[in-house]
Amino acid sequence: MATQPIQLQDQDRILNDEGVLRTGADENFLAVSRFRFDSGVEESGAEQIESGTCEVRTGTSSVLPWIVPTTKELPRASFQVLQAWVGVVTEVADAEFQAELHDQTNPERSREVASFLVEEVSNEDHELIAKGAVFYWSVGYRVSPSGQKDRVSSIRFRRLPAWSRRDIEQAEGRAEEWLRLFAPAP
């Protein structure tokens, strides 16, 4: 076990080689899972979230002045995917959207179409709901570190990179070549 202690100095955000540590407005903690808190408090209320981080809701920072990096595995939540689709939004109405679904679990299956309520999508993704937007839809079991098993549906929209000026200029260059080649004969 690595035992180099890291002292908590900045209550807002601490970056170091081992990962990210952050305190929230209420002085609760978010920490990457390879940290554990000295005194074993991490066992109480620790919850794994998707990105591999570990949310620890304990007391204030004054209770936990030291953090010890460790290679010891903490109890992790897991997500067992039973079925996954990639969707493309084809229509958007006020409170719902229609999408075409491509089966990622069994790609040989035919495409499907379905309607979703916008409220099924995380609030932070609402701004991404638009015609042509791509999202992942997964259905599976989430098992908490304590072993509790929940069947869940997760819709996450892709944050595709924005068009760059270079992308568009390259496409325009090719378009001009095609225009020259494909122009009607005089």
């Binding site: 979703f116 638009a130 325009e172 001009e176 080649l181 009607p184």
Partner: protein, 371 residues
């Protein structure tokens, strides 16, 4: 399941075969003398290839006898696999709407290659593959006119052939897009690729069908009007209103109904002025939108048409998955449907001086039989 027919049409027979929905439609026309044209394309999932290829091969047709391949517009339900069809047909001329011959559209086609990392098409990617093939067929940068693309607009002659033996003369004209339709399409095309800094998405047109090609196929006195996806609006210079101003004469007996029979593609004057009094209406479903609706079929029948549809308007229910998946999926997603049902086939064979013969395969049906 009925097997695909094995006997090809006779030398002088006009055949119009309509396939759908393989997420879309494909129309094959035998123009006599063993020559064929392909209008739009969809995939035969059973054979994992474009239905145009699988059907023509089932008839023993040499794909070199395909003279013309037309993409009426760029939507994925009309161009699925069309690049593979072009690749397999070495002597075919490729033709598409003149509305696509703009820097904005070709930029969108090229940009589609890098729009997303997913292998989900918008139709633009299929056209990118088409243009790549055409580029390779243009030696040293010079393009033989027989290669294409031939840019189609109202009243353009698409193909002409003199009478040959038992085959009467053939003329194929484009009746759309009009100049007005092309202008309208330009505005939508300009929005396909956002400005720098905008989010990449799969291209979805906001103004879908004003640029669609419509073809009038004449073999002697037998005429077929292939309506593509052209829609109707109040503007006299666009859509079907503009088609009615075409200088190309003739009333068609066979009508590939536009836009899957939807109300917004219907112009009563087309039935009065461009079709015979007892036309045969050929309809393909669009399962994404549940077209044609029962009211659409009734409306066409009321015009006096014999209404044939290549399949049901709704796709089947999705296959049942793991019970836990089904329970959750049904709670989250409503109206889940499979897009691709069985690929139905309507076949019309029509010899000079006779009535057209109708054959229905693989789920295609006659409206009056189920009304």
């Amino acid at each position: 399941m009925p097997q695909l027919p094995e006997l090809g049409p006779s030398v002088g027979t006009l055949e119009v075969s309509v396939f759908g929905p393989g997420i879309g439609e494909c129309v094959l026309v035998h123009i006599g003398a063993g020559e064929w044209i392909v209008v739009d394309s969809c995939i035969d999932r059973r054979r994992k290839e474009p239905v145009a290829i699988s059907y023509l091969r089932s008839l023993g047709v040499d794909l070199a006898s395909v003279k013309l391949i037309v993409a009426t517009h760029w939507h994925d339900d009309h161009v699925g696999g069309i690049a593979a069809v072009l690749d397999a047909c070495p002597r075919a001329t490729f033709a598409c709407s003149a509305a696509l011959m703009t820097k904005e559209f070709l930029t969108a086609v090229e940009a589609s290659r890098r729009a997303t990392t997913e292998s989900m098409g918008s139709g633009l990617g299929e056209l990118a593959a088409v243009f790549d093939i055409l580029s390779k067929r243009a030696p040293s940068g010079s393009r033989p006119s027989s290669v294409g693309p031939k840019w189609l607009s109202q009243d353009v002659v698409v193909l002409k052939r003199e009478a040959q033996g038992d085959c009467p003369p053939v003329a194929i004209h484009a009746l759309s897009p009009s100049a007005g339709s092309q202008t309208r399409a330009l505005m939508a095309i300009a929005r396909l690729v956002g400005p720098p800094g905008s989010t990449r998405r799969v291209a979805v047109s906001e103004d879908p069908n004003s640029l669609s090609v419509v073809l009038l196929v004449e073999i002697g006195d037998r005429l077929a009007l292939l309506g593509g996806d052209l829609e109707q609006d109040a503007d006299p210079l666009t859509g079907w209103n503009a088609v009615l101003t075409s200088q190309v004469p003739g009333r068609a007996r066979l009508f590939k109904v536009p836009h899957h029979g939807s109300q917004n593609a219907d112009n009563p004057q087309v039935w009065q002025l461009r079709l015979t009094s007892t036309p045969t209406a050929l309809v393909t479903p669009f399962t994404r939108s549940g077209l044609p609706r029962a009211s659409d079929l009734r409306r066409m029948a009321a015009y006096g048409a014999d209404v044939l549809c290549s399949g049901p308007s709704q796709g089947p229910r999705p296959p049942r998955r793991d019970a836990a998946v089904e329970k959750t999926a049904q709670a989250v997603a409503r109206d889940r449907r499979v897009l691709e049902g069985a690929l139905g086939h309507i076949r019309i064979r029509w010899d000079a001086g006779t009535e057209p013969t109708v054959e229905l395969f693989n789920g295609a049906y006659r409206h009056s039989a189920v009304a």
